[in-house]
Amino acid sequence: MKNIIVKANAGALTNFEVLDLLNSRGASKDTTRVIASETVSRSEYKVYDYLMETAASTQTRESVTKFSDKCKDFRLAKAEILNIINLRPSSDVELTPILEKPDEREIDIEGILALVQELLPPLPTVEAQKENEQEETENDEQS
């Protein structure tokens, strides 16, 4: 059966929006998952499980919308804003791989991190995490 693709890209979705969609269909952390199995398939549940471990699981529609609005001041590309919402970087070392050529564009890294801290809820893991500063992005020169 040949499909005809009408529009390959009809809109990008943040992880939060996909999680929200699955939630509205009845996906939940309930281990038996019997109730929702009519509306949520096993493969959809795999996506749900993945997303529940990411920043998306603590976000709200309001915080995500507010954040992307405020991002306009920082002259970021749409893809970068999406990435930041999905990953919720909390340090310079987490944010820089997301940005393209940050040095040439004079991006206010501190400002963006402050905005993330202010508007986006923290990640879902329970125990305190110690950030390890020794991170290396493969394609950049070692700074």
């Binding site: 059966m1 040949k2 499909n3 005809i4 693709i5 009408v6 529009k7 390959a8 890209n9 009809a10 809109g11 990008a12 979705l13 943040t14 992880n15 929006e17 996909v18 969609l21 699955l22 398939s41 493969s43 959809e44 795999k46 996506v47 499980d49 993945y50 990411t54 893809a79 990435n83 999905n86 990953l87 987490e94 791989p97 997301i98 393209e100 893991t125 995490q129 110690k130 390890n132 020794q134 991170e135 290396e136 992005t137 493969e138 394609n139």
Partner: protein, 194 residues
């Protein structure tokens, strides 16, 4: 990571589903056809909405009506340069393999693992090799104890897309699935071993 795509297709609704409301029946057929399958636009994750369904003609010799359906699906299609959080799955001398749970074909080839590094046989698992990053005289073992952030470098699709009848994760298909090459930026979420 995810986006919406609009598709149009002819869908045959088997007679045993006709007791359901039409939209539900069509959705079930679409799910069987598309969910968890890799299309040229990405991995179909969910049926988002049915925009229109028309037709319902029964072809001669067939007991089932066929509809022309326009619908929207959610696809997993990262873009080059995107940073994604994944978990370690396995490694060998060619590099690492990472997984997202619903998608398991993420490969980090050896040249893109942080250097300096070394590769040694894994003491816990005889078939695997273990990669170790050496930084400032500290050694960091790359294994499944922490999350790995990686950046998408390249996306390749199977050369001959064929339709598979069975359901299942795409890594079972044996199609030479989508493989992503990426730079590996490690995120240690727990204290390092000293």
């Amino acid at each position: 990571m995810f986006c919406l795509s609009e598709l149009e297709d002819t869908v045959r609704v088997p007679p045993d589903l006709l007791k359901l409301p039409l939209e539900v029946a069509i959705k079930k057929v679409l799910q069987k056809l598309f969910l968890d399958k890799v299309l040229s636009i990405g991995l179909c994750v969910s049926i988002y909405d049915i925009k229109s369904a028309e037709g319902g003609f029964v072809l001669p010799g067939d007991g089932a009506p066929t509809y022309k359906v326009v619908f929207i699906i959610v696809v997993f299609r990262p873009f080059v340069g995107e940073v994604i959080a994944a978990r370690f799955k396995e490694s060998d001398s060619n590099g690492l393999r990472l997984t997202l749970g619903f998608f398991e074909d993420i490969y980090v080839p050896a040249p893109l693992i942080p250097r300096p590094n070394r590769c040694e046989p894994d003491p816990c698992n005889r078939n695997q090799m273990r990669w170790v990053w050496i930084f400032e005289e500290q050694e960091y073992i790359i294994d499944d104890s922490y999350q790995i952030n990686f950046r998408v470098e390249n996306i390749s699709y199977p050369p001959v897309p064929t339709e598979r009848a069975e359901d299942g994760a795409i890594d079972d298909d044996g199609l030479g699935p989508v493989s992503w090459w990426e730079g590996c930026s490690e995120r240690n979420n727990e204290d390092d071993d000293t």
